[in-house]
Symmetry: D2
Amino acid sequence: MSLSLQIPMRWGDMDAYGHINNVEIVRILEEARVHAFGPPAGTGLPGVEVELPIFADLPEGIQALVVEHRIKYLASLHYRNVPAKVDVWISAVKGASFTVAYAIFDPVAGTKCVIAETTLAYYDEPAGQLIRLLPEKKQMLSALLGEPNFR
Amino acid sequence: MSLSLQIPMRWGDMDAYGHINNVEIVRILEEARVHAFGPPAGTGLPGVEVELPIFADLPEGIQALVVEHRIKYLASLHYRNVPAKVDVWISAVKGASFTVAYAIFDPVAGTKCVIAETTLAYYDEPAGQLIRLLPEKKQMLSALLGEPNFR
Amino acid sequence: MSLSLQIPMRWGDMDAYGHINNVEIVRILEEARVHAFGPPAGTGLPGVEVELPIFADLPEGIQALVVEHRIKYLASLHYRNVPAKVDVWISAVKGASFTVAYAIFDPVAGTKCVIAETTLAYYDEPAGQLIRLLPEKKQMLSALLGEPNFR
Amino acid sequence: MSLSLQIPMRWGDMDAYGHINNVEIVRILEEARVHAFGPPAGTGLPGVEVELPIFADLPEGIQALVVEHRIKYLASLHYRNVPAKVDVWISAVKGASFTVAYAIFDPVAGTKCVIAETTLAYYDEPAGQLIRLLPEKKQMLSALLGEPNFR
């Protein structure tokens, strides 16, 4: 199973080459995580319902940190005044981390432009250490388990 | 008359103060212009219909340039996972420039957070000079004429 | 008297027009304030000496907020792999706010590309109110007093 | 052999967590490439000398495209008002692509915060196809060959 999200591009995401800059693609991945799992700092709610509120209910002081990104640019993503289509699923769940997988599609041409994976961990900021995933979070994440993008 | 637009915020628009950064507010104004008038470089279409296609049909080599911004921050804009409400209208039309006026509202609390104005001019890039507004553009802009935010 | 600062541009500050985007100019103004007055959240030090440490010693919970920007774009700022030259001075000191004035120059061609002013106020975040400038801050600021860019 | 670069952070690179945002780390990698190899669109020069002008002399229409990023975040990078220390070297040279490897260090604490690799390819935009590396480029790149960050 995967979530199919609509993530808006901004005109300013283009660089001097006239396509969406590779760094802004990583911003679009961040937005896809926020749409799917909720705003990580616990701000921004209530508003639209979050698909899978993995971040939305984090206790004060617990941060969802990016541990690793892997991003493959298959084709230029052109700016459109309609949102990019971003598929999001989970490709791994471990004791203290999990991996989000994505595919970004041009919403007009339908081209698959980017595949990516982000590994995240929960960090207890006051205690200064990573924390283990709670069983109920693991269960929520497992509902979205799918194939990895990279081997 | 004014256009009432929905401009998405991004989680990454927040700065270390935990609210939408003053610079990202200016990015939101840029997005409001693109939503209202079309993408300035002529890219990005077709997609959603543009309210008032002032930029969308610019000939190759003609750029819509920002000549001046004036931005008043009335209250902090907090990040929401729903779009900011941005009202857009025209506060001046001159021979070779026009002024866009905006008000940005917190979409949850309803607070008016920002008022702003941007003066734009058309620039003929190959010729290296500003160009006059065409009568039909002036007429389109006049339909949105309203009160200035600053005197 | 004014401070003459070296503020680096980034290649990614360019937009699809191939020059420094108007929004990134506002980011360059933010950086100029940080170089001149110190990082506002009190982070980032020690490092290089701050010219006029107006922000650098703010007590916990006191924020330096942007109240108003006025920015005039006189000429396109082209990307250079050397820092932009930014002159910074103070154009007004009031009871609870002060105004920073700037001029941005192309570091290769020498062209004056942008003039701008930013009005800032100190905000007591826990108390939820603006606070008055301390006499010693006023005195520091007065040393940089110069002509306003706008009348 | 590796290049040791000084890449400035910006105050605005921090997110609501109060450290340099993971996306802005990718911007810092872009800047490191520009410092090491020259501005990719051929703009921005003359200015400071480029260490290894791999991008700086690209003919009109040839673009250096990011094909893949892999980024491992080892520790939070805290904002400093002095530049981050970024080591850059080459970890692979192939027929039509090459891989840049990086390590980002906190300039105050000395901590290694990020390791990363970016694979780049040259793209002939008018012809719409990737092009092979010229022998002289391969030779320049080989002078910086070192160990990969990922296996």
